[in-house]
Subunit: 262 residues, 2 copies
């Protein structure tokens, strides 16, 4: 009590960086230069879809939502936890960052429950239930940089496909018990835009009041809504600071991005 918490940066990168080897290498070099405690969460990119196609799987969609059936789960586990996670870890190690790659099953770090939706069977999709904060703290205090893929488990032997944005925000909420957490969502845009066609329309600061207004006006819509809902939820549960923007914001504190506050 009264002791200052150590800081922790959690950075989530999307599939667009994963799909671009040159950009990924640059990002991982920049990530390695961030001082202090840090966690990387990575999305999947297109290689799971490509792999699924090349072994003849047909994507299962209901109401425009992708369903993770058993063959698709096997593919995402292979690609996210295997190919992407291990290559990211190896590149970070080459940058002298002591990265360690995790699914939620490893050390029971992220336990989830299979989604139980009244009308849609999403298949093997997990909603995060709890984070093993003591073990996460032990790892970070041992100098480890955890690298999470978007796979969790139900503690009954079942792996589950899980949204990477949610993983980042649940890790941030859990870690905020013991660290002062900054959460950074990196994607292909400079920030939250009021006009998706105009990179100059970045909202530099957004609070819940402005968010409600912009949703009503229709300036913020579709995929950005769950992302921002995640953000406000995280802030209300103890996360200190959240930014959304291009990953250049990580090395240039002057770079334009969206800061989110309650």
């Amino acid at each position: 009590m009264g002791k200052n918490k150590q800081s922790l940066s959690i950075i989530k990168i999307g599939g667009n960086i994963i799909d671009n080897p040159v950009e990924l290498t640059q990002f991982l070099a920049d990530f390695s230069k961030i001082e202090g405690n840090k966690i990387l969460v990575h999305g999947g990119g297109k290689s799971a879809t490509k792999m699924a196609q090349s072994i003849g799987l047909v994507p299962q969609m209901i109401d425009g939502r992708r369903i993770t059936d058993k063959p698709m789960l096997d593919v995402v586990v292979m690609i996210y936890a295997g190919e992407i996670n291990k290559n990211v870890v190896a590149q970070l190690q080459a940058n002298n960052t002591n990265a360690m790659g995790f699914s939620g099953a490893d050390g029971n770090l992220i336990q989830s429950t299979k989604r139980n939706h009244p009308t849609i069977d999403y298949g093997f999709v997990g909603d995060v239930q709890k984070v093993n904060t003591p073990l996460l703290e032990t790892l970070i205090n041992s100098g480890i940089v955890p690298v999470f893929c978007a796979i969790t488990h139900d503690k009954n032997g079942q792996l589950l496909n899980t949204n990477a944005d949610t993983i980042a925000s649940e890790l941030a909420i859990a870690a905020s018990e013991v660290f002062e957490v900054t959460l950074n969502y990196c994607f292909e845009k400079a920030g939250v835009l009021t006009d998706v066609e105009d990179e100059n329309s970045v909202i530099k600061q957004i609070n819940s009041e402005l968010y409600t207004q912009l949703k009503q006006e229709g300036a913020i819509h579709s995929g950005m809504i769950p992302k921002l809902d995640n953000c406000f939820n995280s802030l209300s549960k103890g996360v200190q600071k959240i930014k959304i923007g291009h990953h250049r914001m990580l090395k240039n504190s002057e770079a334009i991005c969206t800061s989110i506050e309650l």
Copy 2:
């Protein structure tokens, strides 16, 4: 100094267990019941070959040796570090074993060098160079049960396919600095046989003198030679005890198996 070392069991399972879901489930339940510090090392099984075939890769062989070209490396990373490793970890977690899955890249736990053979280019195959013993000790002392797949890295960003028997023996040698290590190689036979057709021909104890004799007589040959060479090398470098046999030896100390001593 003068303090008794804690014990550590290192268990290596081969592809035959991985390929048999019922046997794997039984093994993982038995493994979970082993008391004290432990590490699991798993081989690959047939699914990498099946996956390679289903995406149209043609196995590259030189002099009967499999060559790990880049497309094959991608497959073994996906299958060994992704599918197999994460499913094994999830099953162990369901058995209340706090498993954490690793490639050698994770935490730089096992660094290797790309094999440099005078006449054969094995491709992306690694020979183990060093084990990060302090981190391994920290993990084990935190109650973690490490689960290693047969993938390492060169610390320059390159993942490398690495023999699982060698990984087990190098982990055992390194860990014997800080633990009293028992190494168990589990495979489909009851032990080292003098007649491969006769399960009753198990050699119950073998030392280096008997090994030399049986090699000369041709009773021990082919794949068993590198396995036993690994064992005698490990014993000469500090490993306390080595057993080769069927995995039933883990739960039944009366089960017939081969004990190896210097």
